[in-house]
């Protein structure tokens, strides 16, 4: 009996083109768009400024400074009207020891301005060191050579060892797990729609008159959607690994255990199916289920770090994120993709997801049994 019900459920979802688009096409497109669009934000390549440089001083030193600024990869020379920042080397800059004139035309954040200042300062200090070195060479080669040991490159000055928890994902590593998690929650709509339609058309009542229990009805929903969720997750991973790199964006790498990935995505799908069933047995109409499912997904996604990455959230919001099952799933995926996590590493998240799903399914079965007993009145 169960196998017939599972087969029926598969056929219904496979023939629902809208559901298939919702479950597979939409998350895949989102992964592609978000990964490409956010590429520079996550890799830090966006730390560059459009500058317009004017040199009103004819000295060799000011010419060298101009050249250094133009060579700096953080500055892009553009026309005055397109510049975020205008740098002017004033007349008599060297002779009268004048300051550079900086005009900030664009609205920049204070940390961006500080970053610009640091980059420019590095160019100026490098040049001044070179001038000092040349002067020193007139007196002592040895003293002048000592200045070569002075480096302004942070990589030569300090080694940074990052705490694993501070690892920041690239755009693909962030968007693939986010959309696996969020995309899986899209299943709420087709699960609830099929279930409510069955109830409205008296099919559930008919099945009930054929001695089909609430357990069998629930189990027949769980199994196909667990399988669909796994297919969905692996398609999203495939998009991250093979499609996203075609757009000059970092490919997704599974640094951790594949077994852990399967375990985590299974646990996540249990929680999603549980929530979907809970909504399905309580909603009266498909519209109601879609609205509740949609709002819940968006809220859990917003809180859980799907829309805004958790690492850029304030501490209080990061704590709040922990109440969302999407956050548990996302943390687990990031552990696997980013930190080379294994089953032990994602055990907490997976168990929480399984527990959430089991509780939701348990409540759904109790409500469904009650409704069957009352004849879906």
């Amino acid at each position: 009996m169960i196998s017939a019900m599972i087969k029926k459920e598969f056929l219904l979802v496979l023939r629902d083109k809208k559901a298939l688009a919702l479950l597979f096409v939409m998350p895949a497109i989102f992964i592609l768009i978000i990964s490409v669009a956010m590429r520079d934000v996550f890799t830090g390549n966006s730390v560059s400024f459009n500058v317009s440089l004017k040199n009103l001083d004819g000295s060799a030193i000011s010419k060298e400074l101009s050249s250094n600024i133009l060579k700096n990869r953080s500055f892009h020379q553009v026309a005055y009207d397109k510049a975020q920042i205008v740098i002017t080397i004033p007349k008599n800059y060297v002779k009268k020891k004048r300051k550079l004139n900086i005009e900030i035309k664009d609205t920049l954040k204070s940390d961006e301005i500080e970053l610009f200042k640091a980059k420019l300062l590095k160019d100026i200090v490098s040049l001044k060191l070179k001038i000092i070195k040349n002067r020193l060479m007139e007196f002592s080669d040895e003293a002048a050579m000592a200045l070569d040991t002075v480096s302004l490159d942070s990589a030569n000055l300090f080694d940074i060892k990052y705490n694993k928890n501070n690892d920041i994902p690239n755009s693909t590593q962030q968007s693939v797990p986010s959309w696996i998690v969020f995309g899986m929650f899209f299943m709420i709509t087709p699960i609830a729609t099929v279930f409510i339609n069955e109830r409205k058309q008296n099919t559930l009542s008919r099945l009930s008159s054929m001695n089909v229990s609430a357990y069998a009805m629930t189990l027949s929903k769980i199994v196909p959607y667990l399988v669909i969720a796994q297919i969905q997750a692996w398609i999203m991973i495939g998009v991250g690994m093979y499609i996203v790199p075609l757009f000059d964006t970092p490919a997704l790498a599974i640094n951790g255990s594949v077994l852990a990935l399967i375990f985590l995505s299974f646990s996540l799908s249990v929680s999603v199916v549980g929530l979907a069933m809970l909504i399905a047995v309580n909603a009266n109409t498909t519209e109601q289920a879609s609205t509740i499912g949609g709002i819940l997904s968006i809220l859990l996604g917003a809180i859980g770090g799907v829309m805004v990455p958790k690492f850029i959230m304030p501490h209080s919001m990061q704590l709040l994120a922990n109440i969302s099952p999407m956050s548990w799933g996302l943390d687990g995926f990031l552990d696997i993709f980013l930190k080379g996590g294994d089953i032990v590493m994602v055990l907490n998240e997976s168990l929480m997801l399984l527990l959430f799903g089991a509780i939701a399914l348990g409540i759904s079965i109790v409500i469904l049994k009650y409704k069957i007993k009352q004849g879906f009145e």
Binding site: M5, L11, L12, N202, S208, S209, M210, N211, G375
Partner: protein, 231 residues
């Protein structure tokens, strides 16, 4: 034999069945006649254990509805007024699915298809069937467990005259297999055409129960007994 004794069923404050009692003999076609809201669909749900009752006793072929509901469901079948099957599945897939749920034999499966004239449309998606074909599929699903008793809840609602006559003829033929049929309708001519016995319900109460052949002018009786309620 079906025995309904003093059954009360409420929906909130509304009394749907008010101390209802009647008996149905084995192998007959029994009509339940009444206007909308008389309690016809409710009694069918109750007889199949789909709707709980407040009080009263029900016995179906010697089985107590409170104790033996699973056994009762194995020997009975309800054909709901709504089309309770899956639009996205073909006729064959629907019959396969409901057949497997009820452990239908190949013989029952073939019989359900033949009686309802579905052989030509087996591969067709249920959503593309005509109104009459959909009704027949709805009925065929109910025959898959070879029931001893079938409850029809207004199976001819919303279909054309030709399909209606075909369905009525096929229902009449179930008697030949020894099946007991309970048929609800608010169409007098249908009851007169297929039923052996009729019970008229009004506001959840039994107004009268008699053999159709002895009922005389059923329409007159129906209007007199139920008042001037239109159908």
């Amino acid at each position: 034999m079906v025995k309904v004794s003093n059954v009360v069923k409420k929906y909130g404050d509304l009394i749907a069945l008010d101390h209802l009692s009647f008996e149905i003999q084995k192998g007959i076609i029994f009509g339940l006649l009444g206007v909308n809201g008389a309690g016809k669909s409710t009694i069918l749900s109750v007889l199949n254990g789909l709707s709980p009752i407040e009080s009263g006793e029900i016995e179906v072929f010697g089985l107590d509805i409170k104790k033996d509901i699973e056994k009762i469901r194995q020997i009975s079948s309800i054909i709901p007024q709504n089309l309770a099957f899956y639009d996205k599945l073909s006729v064959q897939e629907n019959l396969d699915f409901f057949g497997k749920i009820q452990n239908a034999t190949k013989e029952n499966y073939t019989k359900a298809i033949e009686i309802n004239g579905l052989k030509e449309v087996l591969k067709q998606r249920a959503s593309t069937l005509s109104g009459g074909q959909k009704r027949r599929l709805n009925i065929a699903i109910g025959l898959l467990n070879d029931p001893k008793i079938i409850y029809f809840d207004e199976p001819t609602v919303g279909i054309d005259t030709k399909s209606r006559n075909e369905i009525l003829k096929s229902i009449k033929s179930y008697k030949d297999f020894g099946t007991t049929v309970v048929y609800t309708s608010h169409y007098l001519n249908e009851i007169e055409f297929i039923c052996d016995e009729v019970a008229i319900l009004s506001h959840g109460k039994l107004v009268t129960q008699e053999k159709v052949s002895e009922a005389g002018n059923l329409e007159k009786q129906f209007l007199e007994l139920t008042g001037n309620q239109d159908d």
